[in-house]
Symmetry: C2
Subunit: 466 residues, 2 copies
């Protein structure tokens, strides 16, 4: 008697006639007039449940099986046999059924075998992984995250865990969460009445990081190929379907790379993730295509099949100006592209992913490398049909004198960036990198409409989880 997962039992890798044990939860149950119970058992290992056929002779206490309802925990042992039913290759002729836990008050159990609204499921986030949809999201999330590590490792990258707690606002990107162990009801004060952060845990003000990029550059200039992949925080008060206060970001950084190398890496990276999803989660993706987004599979296939287009920002502006389409935000050289512009370029003009390169220097961050024209920096955004910007990146300014000038231009004090400037003083090399917000990509892959459905424990508007 072997304990197997539902995935293994359904895979065809176990010989028919074997006695197996599966363990999981009842998805649905129905009884035939002939005294048989058909129990669909899921354990999360794959999309499909396995059907256990239970006769009334199976357990000594027949009432136990009779009282099973959706969500009950159980252990089924029996013979694996080819299924008579449609859509399933194997089923189990049960010999024993052990119930580990019934469902208290089945009528009020939140996860009924019927459609629920996404809003409702966010309120029962601890139970929603038991639904078809969130089981699939969880498996696809895992496959995408591990594919990221696998591909980067194969390419020779090292994962660097840059600090979550930081004392600097790396990019000036949005509001930050302050971190403190001070007693707020009794804050220590300096003689002139200000809050005395020297008494705080780190002896100074501390925040949650908004990006590991500056830190990871230090490792890039020693290990050549590195990446961060971890939680990142933005205290933006934007309760939208597109923003999270806490999200995962992956940020590869490559030494001796220019903007084209960077775009090559971003393209290979995205394609590897999508390839892993299509190969490893075919069952879940079939569900998304059937129930959520009809083109869920084909758009990933198209994404992989063709090379990305590359367009200079200046050319992109000309294309947008002359395309005859009306935009809400007027188009002129110097603007930051809006989602409507990005989607026009990717969906209408090119019809596949496009990398827009070399943006006006005024609208991009201080650490991006000034091009020889003096007007643009070596920045890039990857735009994709159906989503718009999916990756942002740049070649970094590796020349100390240029970096200092851009810091001053952006109102930053070079003296406070001592260690970052050191990287340009000691063996500087060209380097480039990009960042990808993981949940936005997951939303795209699964066809979700709210980013809170792409994290395991969503927060309701204005409140922390639960």
């Amino acid at each position: 008697m072997a304990v197997v997962s539902v995935k293994q039992a359904l895979s065809g890798s176990i010989e028919a006639g074997s006695v197996v044990t599966v363990r999981g939860w009842v998805r649905t149950i129905r009884e035939s007039k002939g005294g048989l119970s058909f129990v669909n058992v899921t354990d999360g290992s794959c999309f499909d449940p396995i059907q256990a056929v239970v006769t009334d002779k199976v357990t000594n206490d027949e009432n136990e099986v009779k009282h099973l309802t959706t969500g009950a925990g159980l252990i089924v042992t029996g013979t694996l046999v080819p299924s008579q039913g449609k859509g399933q290759r194997f089923e189990i002729q049960a010999d024993t059924v052990e119930v580990t836990g019934f469902v208290e008050d089945p009528l009020t159990y939140p996860i009924q075998p019927k459609p629920h609204t996404m809003e409702f499921l966010r309120e029962v986030a601890h139970l929603r992984p038991r639904t078809n949809l969130f089981g699939a999201v969880t498996r696809v999330r895992h496959t995408m995250m591990t594919a990221i590590h696998r591909w980067l490792t194969e390419q020779g990258f090292f994962w660097i865990n840059t600090p979550i707690i930081t004392t600097s606002d790396a990019e000036g990107a949005g509001d930050m969460f302050r971190l403190s162990t001070l007693d707020l009801a009794n804050l220590p004060r300096t003689p002139d009445g200000k809050i005395d952060f020297r008494k705080d845990f780190f002896g100074r003000e501390a925040f949650l990081t908004v990006s590991g990029q500056l830190n990871v550059e230090a490792y890039c200039l020693a290990m050549s190929k590195v990446y961060t992949f971890g939680p990142t925080f933005r205290a933006e008060n934007s309760n939208t379907a597109r923003h999270l206060a806490e999200f995962w970001m992956v940020e590869p950084e490559i030494a001796f790379a220019d903007l084209n190398d960077n775009a090559d890496c971003a393209e290979g990276f995205l394609k590897a993730i999508f390839k892993a999803v299509l190969e490893e989660r075919a069952d879940d993706m079939a569900f998304f295509a059937e129930r959520v987004a009809p083109d869920a599979i084909t758009r990933l296939e198209n994404f992989i099949a063709q090379p990305f287009e590359r367009i200079d920002y200046t050319d992109a502006i000309e294309i947008l100006k002359n395309c005859g389409q009306k935009f809400e935000f007027p188009v002129a050289w110097g603007i930051d592209l809006q989602t409507e512009h990005e989607r026009y370029l990717a969906e209408k003009h090119v019809g596949r992913p496009v990398v827009v390169m070399n943006y006006p220097e005024q609208i991009k961050a201080f650490y991006m490398r000034l091009n020889d024209d003096g007007k643009t920096v070596a920045a890039m955004d990857v735009l994709a049909p159906g989503i718009g910007e999916i990756i942002g990146g740049a070649q970094r300014e590796e020349r100390l004198d240029y970096l200092d000038r851009r810091m001053v231009q952006f109102g930053l004090d070079p003296a406070t960036y001592g260690w970052y400037r050191d990287l340009r003083r000691y063996g500087t090399v060209p380097h480039a990198g990009f960042g990808l917000g993981f949940e936005r990509l997951l939303v795209y892959v699964c066809g979700l409409s709210n980013i809170r459905d792409a994290i395991p424990f969503p927060r309701a508007a204005g409140t922390a989880e639960f």
Copy 2:
């Protein structure tokens, strides 16, 4: 002309006589009387640098090569040839050398080719990955972290990103960092003068998580095998060589598992990590064995070679009482084992890793399963020679009535654990899991003596990084 990593160039996989380009930084340079320069180039891809032999005809501007010093960034193109020297299989006869960045003021460059103290290197954490030691630590860290994901994925586990920001103190484990976007200089107040956290970002008090375990249990009772792996925070004011405010923790959780299944998983898990290190980082481990801890390799080999011992806590207490060894902390049934006890058991009594199981219920957390004796819970610690406790885990209390009683016993209000209790109301199943602090394991593998050397950016005492 192919661009290759130093690892590839040294691996023997490239045919001798090929023209290759390597890119990296000067580790050392020396000149022969015959006008040759021998430049050791490292790019972080492996422990050893590759030697480039540079004649004075190589570049048009011979002064450029003559001015190279340790740490300079450069690109070398030339012919890969078998090396004449000892200890290296291949070297490059350089045709061109392009310097991308010299070292400003070489005499004050912090990373000289000589030994530095660990204290000094913590002050230049942005440059220390350029040393042999921290290059090796970085590569071993990567291998261990990716081995964790790989092994758990192979075993059918799903990675769950439990929230970093939380509104509950999961285990009451140590001080927590408060998170806020309130203006501390001007805190909002309720009518009765208290701080009005309804005005804070999440509408209530929020903290950084100390463990993802309770959250991940919800996913365990849907997906069967899950784990968290992410940063975890403890605001303990313990400036010791063993504690970090921010560290990475991995927490697998298994449905339908008891304490023995849990111990099996912990054993397979640790062995898989160590096997990956020995196989993938033989060069780095040889360095640790030569320079840091002579038994760095053999102790991992011993760890893998034998099955772990398992001892009941009650038996362990008898062993300690009767062993004739004097301990600082007296031994009696009911005590929490101290490091001296743990090390005696692992090092002297067993001589290999040992799992101590079934601890007194009073000294363990509320969520651990009460054994039938009514006195102990199904908790376990994995103790290893040379380090003591390395993993802590437990079978969880899956019976609602028992859980409620233990909550009350520990002074917790069951009403505030609504969603956690739900997991016991709806299809409860036996489940178990464990937690491992990643940096402690890395310290053990590399033979480091201070845990701040196991993170990429250490914090000096009482201050945030840099």
